[in-house]
Structure formats: C-alpha cells, structure tokens
C-alpha cells in the first residue's frame, strides 16, 4: 500500500516538474511571440499581402524633404546628391507646361507588379517578394546595371565606391545596384517605412502605406475613396505606389 502511495507521489512530482520545465522552456517563446506578433524570418513573405502606398501630392509640403532625410538615416545613405551618389527617394518638382501648375512629390521604386528590372536581370538578383516588395539580392547582383537601364522611374542607384558605417539591417556594397525596399526590415516588424513615418510626424499625412489586398487597410480604403494614378501608366506595370492629385 505504502509502496503504491510512493509511486503515486513520485509520478505527481515528475508531472509537476515536467510541467514546470516545459513552462519555463516554452513560456518566454510564447510570450515573445505574443509581443512581437510578426511573422518569423523563416516564414517568408506571403502573397496574401501586397504592400503598397498612396501619395497625396496636394498634401506633400513644398520644400519639405523629411521623407528623403528619414530614408537616408534609416538605410545608411550619405545624403549626398552628386551624379554618382545613391538616392533611394527624391523629391521631384513638376510643372505643367500648358497650365503652369507646379507640384512637388516624392519618387522612389514603385514596386511594380510587373517590374522591368526583374525581367531584365540576368542572374535573378532583382526580384519581387511574394508580398510585392521589389528587392535586389546582394549576393547574386553582378553589377551589370541593366536594371537601371530598364527602370522607367530611375529608381535605382549603383554603389560607386566602398562604403563604411553601414546600418547592419541594411547591407549595401560597392559594385551592386540598390533601391528603395519599402524599408523591408521595418515592414517585417509590422512598422511603417521610414519616409511614411517622417511624413506623418510632420503632420503632412501625404503618404499612406499598407496592404493593398486588405480591404480594411487605410491604403485600400483611401484608394477606393479617391481617384489615383500610376506614374507612366502607359507602361502597364501596375505599380504598388500610386499618386493622388496629379
């Protein structure tokens, strides 16, 4: 009898200890997962989403360059504007030749659904993620610059000289081509791209970023509510970035 009680208690102890060990082991993981609630890096991008942006040029501040500065800081760009310097986003001033109407707007990689840079890249380094973000695989870019020839938006830059003091999250390198990534490192953490955040901080609210496939997202609702256009719509690229007010 006493032997069976001993056995019973030791089994309970074992189960208790086991539950404790399992809790200690799994708990933090579950907790962190709950905190982060973003997808794991190995999970990969999902085609259920398509990241995109709507830019309201009527709200874009004339002379304001905050989106450009924020991009440079986030991605470790020098901010220099020489012919050989990288510019992932730039402010473009346009003037209607007939009416004389002047506007200012940010221009960057338009993250096309049918990106010419991806079509022409000989090695496949230029690629589009499942969620629509167009990127350059730095490991297989050979620096041929054919993508720069093909991009209708002049969105890409070639790294002309050795780089120092890089942002570890945004690896760049001499001899490779690069462009706006929609701040993919931030998007994967469910954050907004740096340019959008900077625009909102300035209260311009000219840029709305989000999932174009989610009808409840702010960007999808805005696109449904207002008329918007693609730049070089004649190319039929179905850009992820659209403009309102031009």
């Amino acid at each position: 009898m006493s032997e069976s009680t001993n056995t019973e208690s030791s089994r309970r102890d074992f189960l208790k200890a086991g539950a404790l060990v399992a809790g200690v082991t799994l708990g933090p993981g579950v907790l962190f997962y709950g905190i982060a609630h973003s997808r794991a890096p190995e999970e990969g991008a999902s085609s259920a989403k398509r990241w995109g942006m709507l830019i309201d040029t009527t709200k874009c501040g004339d002379g304001c360059n905050d989106c450009v500065t924020a991009c440079n800081t986030e991605n470790g760009l020098s901010g220099k504007t020489g012919p050989q310097d990288s510019q992932w986003i730039r402010k473009v001033d346009i003037k209607d030749l007939r009416s004389g109407f002047v506007q200012s707007l940010p221009m960057m990689c338009q993250h096309c659904e049918n990106p010419p840079c991806v079509d022409v890249c000989p090695t496949g380094a230029s690629m589009k993620r499942a969620d629509g973000i167009v990127l350059v695989d730095r490991h297989i870019c050979i620096g041929c610059r054919y993508c720069m020839m093909a991009c209708p938006y002049k969105a890409r830059s070639f790294v002309h000289e050795p780089l120092t003091d890089q942002n570890p999250e945004v690896p760049r390198g001499k001899g490779c081509v690069e462009s706006c990534t929609f701040c993919v490192q931030r998007v994967d953490r469910d954050e907004q791209p740096a340019c959008v955040e900077a625009c909102n901080t300035k209260s311009h609210q000219a840029m709305i970023f989000g999932d174009l496939k989610d009808p409840e997202s702010a960007v999808a609702k805005a696109l449904k509510a207002y008329d918007s256009v693609e730049v070089r719509a004649d190319m039929g690229l179905n850009t992820g970035v659209r403009y309102q007010g031009i």
Partner: protein
C-alpha cells in the same frame, strides 16, 4: 633557319616586327588590366559613369567588338553556306577573327561589371526572361560552335562537316546579334531604344563592321607578306562593303523616320538630330558622314575615275574605307548607347521636371582615362590574339585562281 622557328608560313617570318606587334598588343592589354584592377579597388567612382549614364565608353567598345565579331563570321558563312569559293578561302581567317573579337568584347563587358568577381554567378544563375542572360548563352555557344567550325575548316579529316557546322554557326550568329540588338530594343522605358528595329539594324550593321574589320586585317596580312590581293577579289569585297554600308544607312534613316512620325518621340529626335551637342555631332559627322557617306564615295569614286587597280584605289578600298566604317561604328555605338541614356526619361510627359537626381535634364558624361584604357584594351585583346593566331596557324587566304576563272566563266 632560327628566325623561321615560330612561323607557320615562311614568307611571314619577320620576327622583329612580329615581336614589336606582340609588344604593342601586350602593352595595350596590360594597361587595360591596370585600369581594371584600379577600378576594382576604388569602384566606378573613378569613371565618368554615374546613376544617369550607367553604361559608358567600355560598353561602346564591348558592344562594337561583339557586333563586329558576329559580322566578321559572315565571310565564312558566304563561303560555307552560300558556296562562294572566294569567301571559302577566307573562312578560317573569318572564324578566327570572330573568336578574337568576341573575346575582346566580352572581356571588357566582364571587367566593367560592378562585381566582376561574381562571373561564376553570372554563369550559374540564369533568369531566362532576361535577354541579357540569353546573350550569355549565345556568347558561350558562339565560342563552342565557331571553335568546332574552325576545326572542320582546318582539319582535312573533318572538312566534310564544314557545311552543316557552318550553317549552324550562321544561324547562331544571327541569333546572337538579334539578342545583342534586343538588349536595347527591349528597353521600353527609354525613348532612344524600345524598337523592334534594333535587332535587324544591329545585324545589318554587324555585316558592315565585320566585313570592314576583315578587309583591314586581310590587307595588313597581304602587305606583311608583300603580296597583292587579286583585283577581282578586292572589287567583290568592296562592292559587298558598299552594299552593307548602304543598308546600314537605310536602317538608320528608317529608324529615325519612324520616330519622327510618333509625336511622343519628337523630343528625342530633336536631341539626336538637332540640338544634342556631342551626340548630334557624333551622329552626323561620325556615324553618317565619316562612317557612311565618305566610305561610299571612297569605294566608288576612284573606280569611275578609271584608276583601275592603282595604288590609290588599293588604299581606299582596302584600308581607308573599311577603317572609316569601323570608326563610324564606334560613333554609332556612342550615339546609341550613351546618347540614349543621356536623354532624360519621360517621367511626366507634358511637364517640366526637376530633382536632385537629375530628372528632366540631359545627363552629363565624360569618359575617364580608365574607361578609355579598358575599352581600347578590348581591341588590344582581339589584336593580340589575331597576331598570335596568324603567326602560328595558316590563316593567310589562298585563292585557287583556276577555279575562280572557271566559276567566272560559268557565272
């Protein structure tokens, strides 16, 4: 006897001159290598290339060499595929020149990459939607097929295969130049490209550039051996060159006329034809006058003057006119490649555009000495390979004049 040691043809044994030529070619290639290592270390910041003009002078030389390489093989094709015996005698030299020039052109293309150390990546990762990737396949295949073709031409045991292999080589070279022209033709975004005419125009131009290079090399070889090229062979080749130069001019006119018909292309045409500065000058003076009209005059005027087979005619036919055609080729590539990029992309049609990234303005580009060294180095590689090849193999054309006479009688 010792002086004859390294030469396949006894009459070619001018050893001192041979070493001098070898030294000259070697120096040019060495300077290109020096430029390459400097650029590899410091980056393209030392070149005139920038984020607006991304392909510069090295590409001008590289594409010209590649296009001329496919064109020079035409001589062999006329012999093997179309059975003309004058050209058959020249097929080995034509094949060798094609390989030498493709080597030079590809070397420049590779050495100008941002990451030339990743050549193995370019050879192992293929995006088959990219015409550039197809070009790599065409280039590699060209080496293999033309190499085999040369073997069938030069090894008597394999002679019987020269016709079918020559036919494959002919088709392959048409594919190669189509792909090279399409590198530009498939760029929909830029006004200067985006045309189905690019591929056939490059093919026609390749005929001219290739034949011109062949005529210069052939003339140099005859001069070297104190021989005179048969006047009928010479006349045949110069007439063919005139046809190719005329056809190139025709394609150029049609290309620009088509653009002039499209309202959205007017600004680009105004840029190239009227107020594009260096590009307008290079187009009219380099490509059209020096590379087209003057060679045509040189090829036809002396004959009408009744000079017959005189020395002036020889120099005009064999050196001057073909050299000008090659120079015109260089001008054409400069206008096509650099001019096409310098002209601003139509980001917002109907608007005046400006930005810190040089939108809406003509991009500035002036090649640095490193680019010249690299580009000319490609010509140096082709030259060096040719000098060695004609020394160690029998590439000197040997015409069978009896057969020629018979053919002429039956033609």
């Amino acid at each position: 006897m010792a002086t004859n040691e390294y030469c396949a043809n006894k009459q070619e044994c001018k050893t001192t001159q041979f070493w001098l030529l070898l030294g000259l070619g070697g120096l040019i290639v060495l300077s290109a290598l020096y430029a390459f290592f400097t650029l590899e270390h410091h980056g393209h910041v030392l070149t005139g290339m920038n984020n607006q003009v991304v392909w510069g002078l090295p590409h001008v030389f590289a594409v010209l060499l590649i296009v001329a390489a496919s064109g020079v093989l035409n001589i062999a094709s006329i012999g093997s595929v179309f059975g003309k015996s004058v050209y058959k005698a020249r097929a080995p030299l034509s094949g060798m020149l094609a390989l030498a020039m493709l080597s030079g052109g590809l070397a420049v293309l590779v050495l100008d990459l941002g990451r030339p150390d990743r050549l193995i990546v370019a050879m192992t990762y293929y995006n088959f939607k990219s015409i550039f990737a197809w070009n790599m396949i065409f280039y590699n295949g060209f080496f293999a097929i033309v190499g085999l073709y040369l073997l069938t031409l030069m090894d008597r045991k394999m002679n019987a295969w020269s016709k079918p292999v020559g036919f494959v080589a002919f088709l392959w070279r048409l594919g190669l130049t189509t792909a090279t022209g399409s590198i530009f033709g498939f760029i929909a975004a830029r006004s200067g490209y985006n045309s189905a005419l690019m591929a056939p125009m490059f093919i026609v131009m390749s005929f001219g550039y290739g034949l011109a290079v062949f005529m210069v090399v052939q003339s140099a070889m005859y001069y070297w051996n104190d021989q005179l090229l048969d006047v009928n062979v010479r006349r045949r080749m110069k007439n063919l060159l005139a046809v190719f130069v005329g056809a190139s001019l025709y394609f150029t006119i049609v290309f620009h006329l088509t653009n002039l018909y499209f309202a959205k292309q007017w600004e680009y045409e105004r840029f190239i034809l009227l107020d594009g500065g260096i590009y307008t000058t290079t187009f009219w003076v380099g490509q059209i006058i020096l590379g087209g009209i003057v060679p045509l005059i040189l090829l036809f005027i002396p004959r009408s003057g009744g000079a017959g087979s005189g020395k002036t005619e020889r120099i005009c036919f064999c050196f001057l006119a073909p050299l000008l055609v090659v120079l015109g080729g260089l001008a054409q590539m400069y206008v096509t490649i650099i001019g096409g990029q310098a002209f601003p992309m139509p980001l917002f049609p109907g608007h005046e555009v400006s930005s810190t990234f040089y939108d809406g303005v003509v991009a500035s580009y002036s090649p640095s000495k490193w680019e010249w060294m690299l580009g000319i180095g490609g010509v140096g590689i082709a030259f060096l390979l040719t000098v060695i090849a004609v020394r160690v193999f029998k590439f000197m054309p040997h015409d069978d004049f009896e057969e020629l006479k018979m053919r002429r009688a039956t033609d």
